[in-house]
């Protein structure tokens, strides 16, 4: 696309994104704005996982652990639980930093592992973190166990809390709208970071390692360091998203950080288009919004056709999700919007 066209698209998207919450809020209701906020969170998560899985080619089935670390760090530092109330510009970076350390902790022992084995070990790691979060309430109550942590502080900017509606020029700004802009800003930051990473020496090093790590090492790349960097940076993104999740939802519990969530994020990356930033964003948005649409549609649809509920919405949603994963891999394994390189790879594989 030539520069003028690119600029036009850019400005158009910026305008759309800027007014989106108000348009959606007034037509479809604020619960959909909330869904969009979650979509942005998942975009951040998916982009983080994309660094590990898409760029570096390291299969990670326990990514949600970093989300959990970021969330719990924020919660412990900004809630009545320990009665510490640090501001968000300390807790979120702290959570992200801690998550990055966990990323290094995960990455170090698994340097030699590949493919399925790496997947299973990372899965185990994710489960271990979840089990600890669930059980660290005795003898010393750190995480409050299965009950989770409640009443987490909302973000406060300059004394104004984003947790309550504010009146501005006669407009009433709902928390979901305000958080939207915070999330949008941070998502853009993450997108820029990931894009720059992709087109840097490190990005190219990751691609080289992903394609053939022995040749890459022969070319002088320090495989250990770039693997660890991938894990750490991915975890960092996850940790930021986790902290934002904690402050947005106000309540966290180990339930939100299980294997299913890890699988969801992996699905967003893989089904969207592994390694391709726009594809991953698309995957995240689709896989966040589609289930919500489905939830609203599936009940009335069944009542209309069958007269009763055969499949409850949650069941139907998961069923379709699993089926989508299977079908996508059979029909279009390169994802909805793959990078050119990936599309070419799969075309070759399909032929041969």
């Amino acid at each position: 696309m030539d520069t003028n066209k690119k600029l036009a698209v850019f400005i158009a998207s910026a305008i759309v994104l800027a007014v989106l919450p108000f348009v959606v809020g007034n037509t479809l209701g604020n619960s959909w704005v909330r869904t969009i906020d979650f979509a942005l969170l998942y975009v951040m998560l998916a982009l983080g996982l994309n660094i590990v899985v898409g760029f570096a080619g390291l299969l990670d089935l326990g990514f949600i652990a970093f989300y959990a670390v970021g969330a719990y760090t924020f919660a412990l530092l900004g809630s009545p639980h320990f009665d510490i109330h640090l501001p968000f510009y300390i807790s979120i970076p702290l959570g992200a930093g801690l998550a990055a350390m966990f990323g290094l902790l995960l990455g170090t022992p698994v340097l030699k592992l590949k493919g399925d084995y790496l997947a299973i070990v990372t899965l185990g790691f994710g489960e271990i973190v979840r089990i600890f979060m669930n059980n660290l309430n005795a003898p010393v109550n750190i995480t409050n166990g299965p009950q989770g942590i409640n009443l987490i502080d909302p973000i406060q900017i300059g004394g104004v809390s984003l947790g309550k509606a504010i009146e501005v020029f006669g407009f009433s700004l709902n928390p979901v709208h305000m958080y939207y802009y915070v999330f949008l800003f941070l998502t853009v930051v993450v997108v820029i970071m990931v894009y720059r990473l992709q087109h840097s020496r490190i990005g190219r090093a990751w691609v080289a390692m992903r394609e053939d790590s022995i040749a890459a090492a022969a070319m002088g790349l320090n495989i250990r360091n770039i693997k660890l960097l991938a894990f750490a940076l991915g975890a960092l993104s996850g940790g930021v998203a986790g902290g934002l999740f904690a402050t947005f939802q106000g309540f966290i519990s180990p339930e939100s950080f299980g294997l299913l969530e890890s699988i969801m994020i992996l699905a967003m990356v893989v089904l969207g288009g592994m390694g391709h930033i726009p594809g991953v964003i698309l995957g995240a948005v689709v896989l966040t919004i589609a289930p919500e649409v489905l939830r609203d549609v599936i009940g009335p649809l069944q009542m209309h056709t069958f007269g009763k509920m055969i499949v409850d919405p949650e069941n139907a949603r998961m069923l379709l999700f699993g089926a989508a994963m299977v079908i996508m891999m059979l029909v279009r394994p390169e994802g909805m919007w793959p990078s050119k390189r990936r599309a070419a790879e799969f075309k070759d594989a399909k032929k041969g």
């Binding site: 590949k114 790691f125 059980n135 069923l319 891999m329 594989a349």
Partner: protein, 309 residues
């Protein structure tokens, strides 16, 4: 020391079940080089189908002794699971034979989710109790107790493992399986129908899985749509511990993991001064997996295998 023998016995029972499931994983991995993520769900189906059959028979007033009812349940569950295993292979794995390893992994995970949801559709989300038709009479061995049922489980596992070993080592089918796991291309040149062998592997593994599922259900007196995941993961750990692709390794790994888990669960309170309780039991399997994969990735009985990317 007083609980030591008890935990060993518990571990033996648990381990035998792990071993049976691990055999399914290791056979598929040996022949196809991929982890059949959906195997745990096959185990779950075996348990659920058996419970359904037994409950229906009881409601219909069939007056047979408990073990007979379970046997009839098994006779229904085993073919059902074999069919399920066969379908999984045909739908999710065969079309993706040449694809990069990520694709079958994703389909396997997707299928696993689908099967769990189907189980919810059929049986609901609640724990299904196993009908109380088997007596839990205990026997005492040197101060530790074990039920006759548990002894039966261990014995049956042993029989099945020996049976499988006989099939793999002494029969034509077994020879074909071993050939295919070593080199599918050359095996097909030797007249082996690789597709048939792969299907047979899945079917056999699923049959064992069905039996294992019933064992789990009778041992814990209940079944649940999600039970396949954890137990599948632990059985896979057992397979890796023993050396993936190696049948004897799966058995050894299974029993060893069962014992490690039982001893760990029993002693973890003492070991950590009360800080960690027995609900951390699940972590043992993962910890074992990580340690094995870091320090001895070929497992206890495995040979050095080529890089499986």
């Amino acid at each position: 020391m007083d609980i030591f023998l008890q935990q060993i016995l518990n571990g033996l029972v648990l381990g035998s079940i792990y071993a049976l499931i691990a055999l399914g994983y290791t056979m598929v991995y040996g022949i196809m080089g991929l982890i059949n993520f959906a195997h745990g769900e096959v185990v779950m189906f075996g348990a659920m189908v058996t419970i359904t059959v037994v409950t229906s028979l009881m409601n219909a007033g069939v007056a047979l002794p408990g073990p007979m009812l379970v046997l009839i349940g098994l006779l229904v569950a085993i073919p059902a699971c074999m069919l399920l295993g066969y379908s999984i292979e045909r739908v999710a794995y065969r079309p993706l034979r040449g694809a990069p390893k990520l694709a079958p992994l994703i389909t396997a995970i997707g299928l696993s989710i689908v099967l769990q949801q189907v189980a919810i559709l059929i049986w609901g989300r609640n724990y299904i109790p196993f009908p109380a038709i088997l007596d839990h009479e205990t026997i005492e061995i040197f101060g530790a107790t074990i039920t006759k049922l548990q002894l039966g489980i261990v014995a049956l596992c042993l029989l099945l493992m020996i049976g499988l070993l006989v099939v793999v080592e002494k029969t034509k089918l077994g020879r074909a399986m071993r050939a295919t796991s070593q080199n599918p291309a050359v095996a097909s040149l030797m007249g082996v129908n690789v597709n048939t062998i792969i299907s047979a592997t899945f079917v056999m593994g699923s049959a064992l899985g069905a039996i294992a599922g019933v064992m789990v259900a009778t041992n814990y007196d209940q079944a649940h749509y999600y039970m396949g995941f954890m137990i599948g993961l632990k059985a896979f750990t057992a397979a890796v511990l023993g050396g993936i692709g190696n049948l004897g390794g799966a058995v050894a790994g299974g029993i060893l993991l069962g014992i490690i888990e039982s001893l760990g669960a029993g002693y973890i309170g003492d070991l950590t001064g009360g800080f960690l309780g027995s609900h951390y039991q699940d972590i043992f399997a993962f910890a074992v997996l990580i340690v094995v994969l870091i320090f001895r990735p070929s497992g206890l009985l495995g040979e050095k295998m080529a890089d499986r990317a």
